[in-house]
């Protein structure tokens, strides 16, 4: 297995080591915009509930709009130019999950194969956070009707009280689901065996050795980067 490296060493290339492209600049900008907006949204959502007193409403809805635009951008790219199917859970992922479980319980093979560009856990996280984000965005946009902004006047009677209750409930449940998902995401990316993925989300590349160690090359063939 590719051993853990320090943060400094993560950005250094060994002599003769070549690189492959993992994340395009647009994907990285999307990821970090989403991360920043999620962080602001979580602080402005749960801060007041925890008793911190600050003017949170404007910051919250503006961060929500930023997140919405980022997601629309990502959705457009995913449908037009990204490797859309690399994020889909396929038969091989399920076979490898089964092999992994059987291997752990019975200590017998065959071993699970290597993943493509993304592991099953990454795919499940992506679709989980996507579902939560859709719930947050859809209900958050409806809740904008209750706010005065430079663009419109508030209209709290746009929906019935029962409907508003449902909207707030979905928003609250999605927000409380997002928190553990983000905590677990940060935990996994900071683990020694995965920390190089953090570097790939900053620089966009991984070394050819990392690619060969971690990936079934028949399931994902990235572009080679020239020095």
């Amino acid at each position: 297995m590719f051993g853990p490296r320090t943060i400094d060493a993560q950005f250094a290339l060994a002599p003769g080591e070549s690189r492959v492209a993992r994340h395009a600049l647009a994907e990285r900008l999307f990821h970090w915009t989403l991360a920043a907006s999620f962080l602001v949204l979580i602080v402005t959502a749960f801060g007041p509930i925890l008793g911190w007193k600050f003017e949170w409403v404007a910051t919250h809805w503006i961060a929500g709009i930023v997140m919405t635009l980022a997601i629309l951008f990502h959705l457009g790219r995913a449908l037009l130019s990204l490797e859309f199917w690399s994020m889909m859970v396929d038969r091989i992922d399920l076979r490898d999950l089964w092999r992994g479980l059987v291997g752990q319980l019975s200590r017998r093979g065959p071993l699970p194969g290597k993943p493509g560009k993304y592991e099953l856990g990454q795919k499940l996280f992506h679709w989980g956070i996507a579902g939560v984000a859709v719930g947050l965005v859809a209900t958050g946009l409806l809740m904008l009707a209750k706010l005065d902004t430079p663009f419109w006047q508030r209209n709290p009677y746009w929906l019935s009280e029962t409907a508003w209750g449902i909207v707030y409930t979905i928003h609250g449940i999605c927000a409380t689901l997002a928190l553990p998902m983000i905590i677990v995401h940060v935990y996994f990316v900071l683990r020694p065996e995965h920390v190089h993925l953090l570097r790939t989300m900053v620089t966009g590349w991984e070394t050819r050795r990392e690619y060969l160690e971690d990936t079934d090359t028949s399931r994902w063939r990235p572009e080679e980067l020239k020095e």
Binding site: F46, I49, G100, G103, Q104, R107, R108, G109, P110, L111, E161, T162, G165, I166, Y168, T169, H171, G172, I173, A175, T176, L177, L179, P180, I183, V184, Y187, R191
Partner: protein, 74 residues
């Protein structure tokens, strides 16, 4: 049973009364925040503790497969 369901609902959601005195749903209960936070921290602790054991088992399976492969070939 109905009372238990009511208790569960009261724990999961916040309720209020409208202008006519009728009970209305206000949103999710924010106490869920602490349960989800505690659940995620518990998951991290369990995973961090179990990971070396799982990796060791995986290595044992790989060694066994290698041994059986060598045995079949010889």
């Amino acid at each position: 049973m109905q009372q238990e369901v009511q208790v569960m609902f009261d724990y999961l959601f916040r309720f209020g009364t409208d202008a006519y005195g009728q009970t209305i749903l206000l949103g999710a209960n924010w106490d869920l925040f602490w349960w989800f936070l505690a659940g995620s921290v518990a998951f991290l602790i369990v995973h961090a503790a179990a990971y070396p054991v799982l990796q060791r088992r995986k290595a044992q399976v790989a060694q066994r497969i290698a041994r059986e492969f060598i045995h079949v070939r010889s």
